[in-house]
């Protein structure tokens, strides 16, 4: 009945409408599939995940090839929460020695972002071998739980914690600036672990895997074509003598302070001790790490501070060596020069004080450590006529001192070293006012007091320079990386100091030898070795003076220099000199004959005042 002819055109309208819609759709498809590539990228982000394969961290050996640091397998317990149905929770709690509440708490954490019930996350970090063994027996009953193998640092001997440093989870700040690291990665935080991080860490491997929408792994992407293998970290060869380090740490037991031993002909650090130390095994990770760290951090004796690099101490009388060298270099004194000493420095009312001794020449002044002598020497240097103004003389002295290292970063390969302090003209202008000070005002700088501060590493470097008669190598503690034993070029360059007159060094060294033969270290001779040393008793505002002693031996072709500083222990000859002397004997002869002295030193606890032998000092 319909009027077909009249409506026949409508078929064209309908067909055209259908075609138009389809055309729009085709254009849209053309746009999103071909023109716009953002969907391609989004798809890759959706389904491809980079899985990291962690390399084994490099081992660390001492100078004789003995193992200092290696890796131990460690076991993390991981869980995929949604697969834990039917897990024997009660006996899992028993094995891990946790409460049901703790279990539920951890489970909740494993389910919440950024974790997910379908994703595996760590349930228990670094289980002890005992726990692991117990767990392994029953693992079939713990559905959804798996053990993942990782490694932790391990130290055969509990020594050199400060030197070796430790590794810990990388900070968020570091992750933000360094693309290599991702959250949860480990990184060297101090010591060698920090400075040689790049060599030790190796290279992470990457596996591209396809994941589904639940983040579950489906398989390798492109059959593993784009995957890379992890490259293990390189081994490090330290300059440290493990036995010397261990022996030194034993001697320093119960004392606050630092010992640095250097081989002067190479600048290699033989031992670097900061006392009190800690067992590096305490900071390898796991449940105990945080607890141990907190305990060490809060300890009033500051065991986490590396005093050898960060403890800034007045050098005391040991600094007189530098004055003697500079003065000879400037020609203001010679071997036979002598100055009056009235149990003190006469021009300033016999201050600084001195102890009774026979009149001395240059060599004798080193041996008996005359304070008056070096007050005069300091003024001879600063008040030279060739300088129009005293300030110029002072700056000359300061510049010369700084060439020996004090007041500068030596450039060693350990992190966080402090520069010490050689006060500037500006500083004194601020304290005394411009023109408000003269050489006499600051004359105690000449005997290593006042604002003068050195770190023990710098003290050792000064002695190494004297032993080398005019130059030093930057002290460093790694001499080879990997199999080709390469090291940084800067450690093989000689650094010449401001004083280059050989006779100046000979006079000082004569005095240092006399220090052992007839001077302040008379009782600490090293059997069978000609050693040269210098005592120091560093007055400081923190109580009793610090005991300082530095020495090198043997006199000809020196093999070792040692600087030792013990906080608040009084006269340098009494506590520091024996430590240095014993260590030298140990290193040079391989054994220690003076067992009684050794025992005495090891037994004394100066921190808790358990010593009965304290000598009031000068």
């Amino acid at each position: 009945m319909s009027n077909n002819a009249q409506l026949a055109d409508r078929k064209l309208v309908i067909g055209g409408f259908f075609g138009l819609i389809v055309l729009i759709y085709i254009c849209r498809l053309f746009y999103i599939q071909i023109v716009d590539d953002k969907y391609m990228l989004a798809a890759q982000n959706n389904a491809l995940r980079r899985m990291t394969e962690y390399p084994v961290r490099g081992f660390i050996f001492d100078r004789n090839g003995k193992l200092l640091v290696y890796n131990d397998p460690s076991y993390d317990l991981v869980v995929i929460p949604r697969e834990t149905k039917g897990c024997d929770t009660a006996s899992l709690c028993e094995v891990l020695q946790i409460t049901k509440q703790e279990y539920l708490k951890r489970m909740k954490r494993a389910c919440q972002a950024p974790n997910s019930p379908r994703k595996q996350s760590v349930f228990e970090k670094q289980m002890s071998a005992k726990t692991y063994a117990a767990l392994q027996e029953k693992i079939y009953r713990f559905k959804g739980f798996f053990v993942e193998k990782r490694t932790v640092r391990k130290y055969p001997r509990p020594i050199a914690g400060h030197l070796l440093g430790y590794i810990a989870e990388v900070s968020k700040e570091k992750v933000a600036i360094d693309k290599y690291y991702h959250e949860g990665d480990y990184i060297g935080k101090s010591g060698i672990e920090k400075s040689y991080e790049e060599a030790l860490r190796g290279k992470k491997g990457v596996q591209l895997v396809i994941t589904d929408v639940h983040n579950k792994t489906i398989g390798r992407y492109a059959g593993g074509k784009y995957d890379t293998l992890a490259v293990p970290g390189q081994p490090l060869y330290c300059t440290i003598d493990m036995d010397l380090q261990e022996y030194g740490e034993k001697l320093m037991q119960g004392k606050k302070g630092a010992v640095v031993a250097i081989e002067p002909s190479t600048g290699e650090i033989l031992a670097l001790i900061s006392s009190p130390g800690y067992d590096p095994n305490l900071l390898v990770g796991g449940k105990e790490r945080a607890r141990n760290f907190a305990r060490l951090y809060l300890d009033s004796t500051l065991p986490l501070v590396n005093r050898a690099l960060q403890g800034m101490y007045p050098p005391g009388s040991t600094f007189k060596l530098i004055d003697a060298l500079i003065a000879q270099n400037d020609g203001v004194i010679n071997r036979s020069t002598s100055f009056p000493c009235h149990r003190g420095y006469p021009p300033m009312g016999n201050k600084p004080k001195c102890h009774p001794h026979a009149p001395v020449d240059l060599v004798g002044s080193v041996a008996v450590s005359c304070n008056s002598y070096y007050s005069y020497v300091f003024r001879e240097i600063t008040d030279q006529k060739k300088y129009p103004h005293f300030i110029d003389g002072y700056n000359h002295w300061r510049d010369m001192v700084r060439t020996f290292g004090p007041g500068t970063h030596l450039g060693t390969d350990l992190p966080y070293d402090k520069p010490g302090n050689v006060p500037s003209v500006e500083y004194y202008n601020k304290v005394f006012g411009k023109n408000g000070w003269r050489s006499n005002t600051i004359v105690s700088l000449g005997i290593g007091q006042a604002e003068l501060l050195l770190v023990p590493l710098q003290m050792a470097n000064v002695i190494a320079t004297i032993a080398n008669q005019g130059f030093y190598y930057i002290p460093h503690c790694v001499k080879g990386i990997g199999n080709n034993r390469t090291t940084d070029k800067r450690f093989t360059e000689k650094h010449y100091v401001g004083v280059q007159k050989p006779e100046a060094y000979l006079n000082v060294i004569d005095g240092m030898q006399m220090c052992f033969d007839a001077g302040t270290a008379y009782y600490e001779k090293v059997p069978g070795v000609v050693a040269c040393g210098k005592t120091g008793t560093a007055e400081n505002p923190h109580g009793k003076s610090h005991a300082v002693f530095m020495a090198f031996a043997p006199r000809d072709k020196p093999k070792i220099v040692i600087a030792c500083l013990i906080e608040n222990a009084g006269f340098g000859g009494v506590w520091s000199a024996p430590v240095v002397s014993l260590m030298m004997e140990k290193y040079l002869t391989g054994k220690v004959t003076r067992k009684a002295e050794e025992e005495k030193i090891m037994a004394v606890d100066l921190i808790h005042g358990k010593n009965l032998l304290t000598t009031e000092s000068h």
Partner: protein, 435 residues
């Protein structure tokens, strides 16, 4: 004539059947790709959806064959019977059906389920064809404003609309299946072909445009004001008669009415429907992890296919479940990802070809019933195609309706098969009987 009918395939349009088979097989292969997993590699594994789909396909073949065997008169004779039967089934399912995702629209038989709403499509098409082939909905008279005339002129139109709207309301309100219900709007195209006044269409389209505009424009009052200015400035171009004044005023009032009710309607939509509209129109902030997830992931899957696609079974987005419903309503994502622009175009053109073939066949019918039924098939298929693909590429709101012959699911495959093969049978008989 009896002799000819001995051959079942006599007069059957082979082109249509071939395209149908092509689409069904391609659909099946894509379902396999969409839910593919390593554990169940056999495409015949009936524990998996592709295995089940094979069972549905076999069933569809039997159904198609049966339809061709049965006398064509059967469909015309029982047109209202089918309609009534399925109306009852659609009401009964609310009481007897199994609850799935909050709505009762499924009859369950073991592992398999049947949705009576799917079969309402061909039943409605039959009933509509039956009614319209006996009635006339053409409005020849001039537009009058007398109520009596409107009733008289549009009586048949309203009855036809009643055939369409009844299942729509039952399925939407009682079964809460928006996707299945909204399909019945497609029959407007049939009514248009049979003489529905263009006024209806214009009014409908304008209302739809206004609905969208008023959702996008936040200031309702200024929208109404500008509508008023536009309406009455039309007097600059038309004669200023009383009749035109009334017409324009009525148009303006209805437009303003649409605008003013938009927010009311929108606010009374279900939350997920609001969100889908928001996602489509880019209203407010769309969280791609939540409400915007489906469409975004669908676009990513299709967009990442590029020109040639990633290759069969190589798609990562669909296979690994990034795209939801990747085997049913979002099956086109698998096509887009694995077969690229080429494959997508081929599938869309095949579907379009089938639809245009329907129109071509419909127009060659001698019987009104067959022609109207043919247009119904074309309209229903096109509506599914446009909405289904439109939503995967972000041009339509997400409405859960399948891609004809492609999507996984027995009910939809069977209902499309019945819908199509009844027409093939009618077409095969076109030379024999003049109805």
């Amino acid at each position: 004539m009896r002799n000819n009918q001995d051959k079942i395939l006599y007069g059957v349009d082979r082109v249509t059947v071939i395209v149908y088979v092509l689409l069904v097989v391609m659909g099946w292969l894509n379902i396999y790709a969409a839910v593919f997993n390593e554990e169940h590699q056999s495409i015949f594994d009936t524990s998996q959806k592709y295995g089940k789909q094979l069972i549905w396909i076999s069933g569809a073949a039997i159904i198609a064959f049966s339809i061709l065997v049965i006398d064509a008169n059967f469909y015309t004779a029982f047109a209202y019977g089918f309609y009534g039967l399925f109306i009852i089934a659609n009401i009964l399912v609310i009481f007897l059906g199994r609850e799935v995702k909050g709505s009762r629209s499924w009859f369950r038989f073991g592992d398999f389920g049947i949705q009576p709403a799917e079969f309402m499509k061909f039943a409605t098409n039959l009933a509509l064809a039956k009614f319209l082939s006996n009635q006339n909905i053409i409005v020849n008279q001039q537009f009058r404003l007398r109520f009596k005339d409107i009733i008289k002129n549009y009586k048949n139109t309203f009855i036809a609309l009643f055939f369409v709207v009844t299942p729509l309301i039952i399925i939407k309100i009682l079964q809460d299946e928006t996707g299945l219900a909204i399909v019945f709007i497609a029959f407007i195209i049939v009514l248009y072909r049979e003489g529905l006044s263009v006024n209806f269409l214009i009014f409908g389209i304008l209302a739809a445009i206004l609905f969208v505009v008023s959702l996008l424009v936040t200031q309702t009052s200024s929208l109404v004001l500008s509508l008023g200015i536009i309406s009455f400035s039309s007097f600059l171009f038309i004669r200023r008669s009383r009749k035109n004044l009334i017409t324009v005023t009525l148009i303006f009032l209805s437009a303003a009415g649409v605008v003013l009710t938009t927010n009311y309607v929108y606010n009374h939509l279900e939350p997920h429907q609001k969100v889908r509209i928001d996602v489509l129109l880019g209203r407010g902030t769309v969280d791609l992890k939540k409400e915007g997830y489906n469409v975004n992931q669908a676009k990513i899957a299709i967009g990442s296919g590029g020109f040639w696609g990633k290759g069969y079974l190589q798609g990562t987005q669909t296979k690994y479940d990034f795209v939801p419903e990747q085997d049913t309503d979002f099956i086109f994502c698998t096509v887009g990802e694995e077969w690229g622009f080429i494959g997508s175009t081929v599938v869309i053109f095949l579907e379009l070809f089938l639809i245009l073939r329907m129109i071509f066949l419909a127009e060659r019918q001698r019987s009104d019933f067959s022609r109207i039924y043919g247009y119904g098939v074309a309209a229903v298929l096109f509506f599914h195609l446009a909405v289904n693909i439109g939503m995967t590429i972000g041009l339509m709101p997400v409405i859960g309706i399948p891609l004809p012959f492609f999507s996984y699911g027995g009910s939809s495959l069977w209902s499309f098969t019945i819908l199509l093969f009844i027409f093939i049978k009618l077409d095969a008989n076109r030379l024999l009987i003049l109805r």
